[in-house]
């Protein structure tokens, strides 16, 4: 073989390794623990299992990924568990906004996601502002005006004070000066039941939860909480389009690794999940579930999370939650 060919070959290998470090170095040899902060069947659990199903189907990983349910205290049990696995390249977790809000309001929850190894953000969950179909309210402006006329009389159902619904409510109330009550219910079923039963006037809900009610004509969406319109709801204006220019504080899901995870392992997972998002199965998944697949890579994720944490801190303080961190 010609020496020049050998040198060229060697150079290309080295270049390839330098350009794609994941390829050259880390590959998991043990099953990967995919930590989830809910029990079996919870939103995160189903999401993680769907990801694993896609990875298995497309044979993207040499080892199995296994869901490790660590429910308890919102995200605190799961985040504490991940924190305890410092340096372990085989532990990743699915994070949501709760991983940030819990650390902001709970004294005892001191495992911040920015201290771990954020890997990628996979999806942003849009929401719909819905009212009952027989309500007088036909648009977001109607609701805001009605709320201004009778401050505190209108009600919306939602989760806890740190939930996305309340965050959007705070932002809207601040920007418009209207005021309405927020009634917390622990489960999605109860929240929708409260709206359908006429006990509350509005709710901000995931399209997947309310989609069928909308289709059956029981609920009417008046606005979307997202940067762009969802394909399933082309006629519903976004809040911005409806004239309510509030900062976008998305509800997101992403992947984070154990603190101190070696850089090549982080790169490996970033690459793995990027490959997942390029599959048709993934496209079908996010379309079916009305998600927005705004992918954020590792390098941009940490600064985004820091900024996001600051945003949430201010909003929660304004909402009256006791912010401890």
């Amino acid at each position: 073989m010609n020496r020049r060919h050998v040198l060229a070959g060697a150079a290309s290998v080295v270049t390839a390794a330098a350009l794609n470090p994941a390829w050259a170095q880390f590959k998991p040899t043990r099953p990967v623990e995919f930590v989830v902060h809910g029990g079996p069947g919870s939103g995160n659990d189903v999401f993680a299992r769907a990801l694993i199903a896609i990875i298995d189907q497309e044979k993207l990983s040499p080892v199995r990924l296994q869901v490790a349910n660590k429910p308890g205290g919102g995200s605190t049990t799961a985040s504490a568990y991940v924190m305890s696995k410092r340096g372990d390249p085989n532990v990743i977790a699915c994070f949501t906004n709760a991983w940030i809000t819990d650390t902001l309001v709970q004294e005892a929850a001191n495992n911040r996601i920015v201290d771990m190894s954020p890997i990628v953000r996979l999806v942003v969950e849009p929401a719909l502002v819905v009212v009952r179909a027989d309500s007088q309210i036909k648009s977001m402006a109607d609701f805001i005006n009605a709320a201004k006329e009778k401050p505190g009389a209108l009600k919306m159902s939602g989760g806890s004070i740190t939930s996305r619904e309340n965050v959007v409510r705070q932002l809207l109330m601040q920007s418009t000066g209207a005021r309405w009550a927020f009634i917390s219910f622990p489960g999605g079923g109860e929240r929708i039941a409260a709206l359908l039963g006429g006990h509350v006037d509005m709710m901000i809900v995931d399209p997947s939860e309310a989609g069928e009610q909308v289709r059956a004509g029981k609920l009417r969406p008046v606005a979307q909480v997202n940067d762009r319109r969802l394909p399933g709801f082309p006629d519903i204006p976004t809040l911005k389009e409806a004239g309510f220019d509030i900062p976008n504080v998305p509800q997101m899901r992403g992947i984070v690794g154990a603190p101190g995870m070696p850089a090549d392992a982080v790169a490996y997972y970033e690459d793995l999940f990027q490959k997942v998002t390029k599959t048709t199965a993934w496209q079908k998944f996010i379309t079916d579930n009305q998600l927005d697949g705004e992918f954020v890579k590792t390098a941009e994720l940490k600064p985004f999370l820091n900024k996001f944490e600051g945003q949430l801190r201010d909003i929660l303080k304004e909402a009256g939650a006791k912010v401890v961190r």
């Binding site: 029990g39 079996p40 069947g41 919870s42 659990d45 189903v46 299992r49 199903a53 349910n69 660590k70 429910p71 308890g72 205290g73 919102g74 605190t76 049990t77 504490a80 809000t101 309001v105 709970q106 004294e107 005892a108 929850a109 001191n110 505190g152 009389a153 009600k155 989760g159 806890s160 004070i161 740190t162 009550a181 009634i183 917390s184 219910f185 622990p186 489960g187 999605g188 079923g189 109860e190 929708i192 039941a193 409260a194 359908l196 039963g197 006990h199 509350v200 997947s208 989609g211 069928e212 009610q213 289709r215 059956a216 029981k218 079916d288 009256g320 939650a321 006791k322």
Partner: protein, 503 residues
């Protein structure tokens, strides 16, 4: 008529050999899951979800539903034999079921549990068949004041569960209310009573409390009783291992009570199956001619709660299948399963996917029969477990308690809590405090506080909202009556005595 044709269509689907097979598989798995503390139907369904991806949706939902209501059959087994609730809704069965076992009627108790489950489970499915849409509308009309009144009614039942000392019963109830508030407040994200432990932010798991206070305490009390509690009597002969006619006759009202109470409360999203079994037990005791015998081992005390937790499954499927609203827990996972199969549960499910809806409903009739046939012959078999000498049985109870407490969460911390609650339960027995009110307070306390705060938020601080709404006013009135009933009874007794003395 639409329902009749739908049901016939459903049977055509459900009786296909493949679907019958899946029904059987689901019921079998459900029974196993129910028997074993530490295994819950929710976790099992979640584990099996990937396997069901390739399945036909009708078959899949038939199997998953089989696991769901099958578990309610098996859950009473360890409750009766070992005083360990197999599943959270089987807690109330421990009260009289275990006492029946101690008197040598374990087989009868197990048999009654199976029969009550069958009767009430079938009634629940009939309800689902005939009145699903109107009952769903009824459920939607229930708002927070009604929930609050319902919880108050449930808590008023403490009066019936306290035995000789009402004061001690109330104190146990208050203790239960305190224990359930440990954790994070939903409305304000304020953490309460967590003693600095992040692990307590999610609150204390109900099974840990129930197993500790019932099973562990029972073992410790048994050891204290020493040689006097050597062997539990197990009668020989098949006839004695199944309920006799008298016992079955005594349960006539309980079958009806369990069916109706369980179904109605099951329909309400956010009211768990444990609540329906407590209510049914309370109603049974209130209507009984010999209320003082409850807690000593009466068959109705087993039939009512066991029936209720089965009728509850039929009820819980009403909002899920007619509105797409999961009641919580297991129905939430079933919802995910339906979504994964591309079926969207909602108001249009009945008309757009009649195969799935009616196939499922029809399969539940079949499933209840299958479960009765599966469980009844197992009764004499399980009753033999009590032939084990006490020195083997007690460690086994402790072992199963550990499995039950650890299985759900996998945290050693929960085992530490189990140890603590075991001691608490033992002390309660020693100091003669009734333990049922503690469990009642724990089950209802959270929901009651939430409903109260939601109601006042909705009415903007107006307390009259509870009496302005008719259903809530009636239930609160009943609750007050029940709470006052000991005083009324004492007043009446004094009056009768006075009449007798003067006459």
């Amino acid at each position: 008529m639409e329902i009749a044709s739908g049901l016939l269509h459903g049977f055509a689907v459900a009786l296909q050999p493949a679907n019958v097979f899946w029904c059987f598989v689901g019921c079998f798995l459900g029974t196993v899951v129910g028997i074993m503390p530490g295994l819950g139907p929710a976790a099992t369904i979640a584990m099996l979800l990937p396997l069901t991806f390739k399945m036909d949706p009708s078959g899949g939902i038939i199997m998953l539903a089989g696991i769901y209501y099958g578990a309610k059959y098996g859950g009473s087994t360890t409750s009766i034999l070992l005083n360990i609730p197999g599943e959270s809704s089987s807690v109330v069965t421990c009260l009289d079921g275990y006492q029946m076992a101690r008197k040598g009627r374990a087989g009868a108790a197990l048999g009654i549990a199976a029969i009550a489950s069958f009767v009430a489970g079938t009634v629940g499915v009939i309800g689902l068949t005939l009145i699903a849409p109107p009952i769903a509308a009824f459920a939607l009309s229930f708002s927070s004041p009604e929930y609050f009144a319902l919880m108050c009614l449930g808590l008023a039942l403490v009066v019936l569960l306290s035995g000789p000392s009402l004061v001690k019963g109330l104190l146990a109830l208050l203790l239960g209310l305190w224990l359930t508030s440990i954790g994070t407040d939903l409305f304000t994200a304020q953490s309460r009573f967590i003693f600095g432990q992040a692990t307590l932010l999610g609150g204390i798991d109900f099974m840990v409390v129930a197993i500790g206070v019932f099973a562990i305490a029972e073992v410790l009390a048994g050891i204290q009783a020493g040689e006097k509690a050597k062997l539990l009597p197990v009668p020989s002969g098949i006839r004695n291992l199944l309920p006799n006619w008298e016992e079955l006759k005594a349960c006539r009202f309980a079958f009806l009570n369990g069916s109706v109470t369980g179904f109605l409360i099951g329909v309400l999203p956010g009211a768990g199956a444990a609540i329906s079994s407590f209510m049914a037990y309370g109603v049974e005791k209130a209507m009984s001619k010999h209320p003082e015998k409850f807690g000593t081992g009466v068959p109705e005390g087993v039939a009512a709660p066991e029936g209720a937790n089965n009728a509850d499954t039929g009820g819980a499927l009403v909002p899920l299948l007619t509105l797409g609203i999961p009641g919580g827990g297991t129905t939430a996972i079933m919802l995910s399963a339906l979504v994964l199969w591309g079926i969207k549960p909602g108001p249009l499910l009945m008309t757009e996917a009649p195969d799935v809806f009616w196939g499922l409903v029809a399969s539940m009739y079949i499933g209840n029969v299958v479960l009765l046939i599966l469980n009844l012959p197992l009764v004499p078999l399980f009753a033999q477990l009590l032939r084990l000498p006490v020195y083997i049985l007690f460690p086994i109870i402790l072992g199963i308690s550990i499995v039950g407490a650890y299985g759900a969460s996998g945290r050693l911390f929960d085992l530490g809590l189990l140890v603590g609650f075991g001691l608490l339960g033992y002390l309660m027995v020693k100091f003669e405090y009734p333990t049922a009110p503690l469990i009642l307070g724990f089950v209802l306390g959270d929901a009651m506080e939430r409903a109260l705060r939601q109601s006042l938020m909705m009415s903007q601080g107006d307390l009259t909202t509870f009496v302005q709404r008719p259903i809530s006013a009636i239930m609160l009135g009943l609750a007050v009556l029940i709470l006052l009933s000991p005083l009324l009874r004492r007043f009446n007794q004094a009056r009768v005595r006075a009449i007798a003395e003067n006459g």
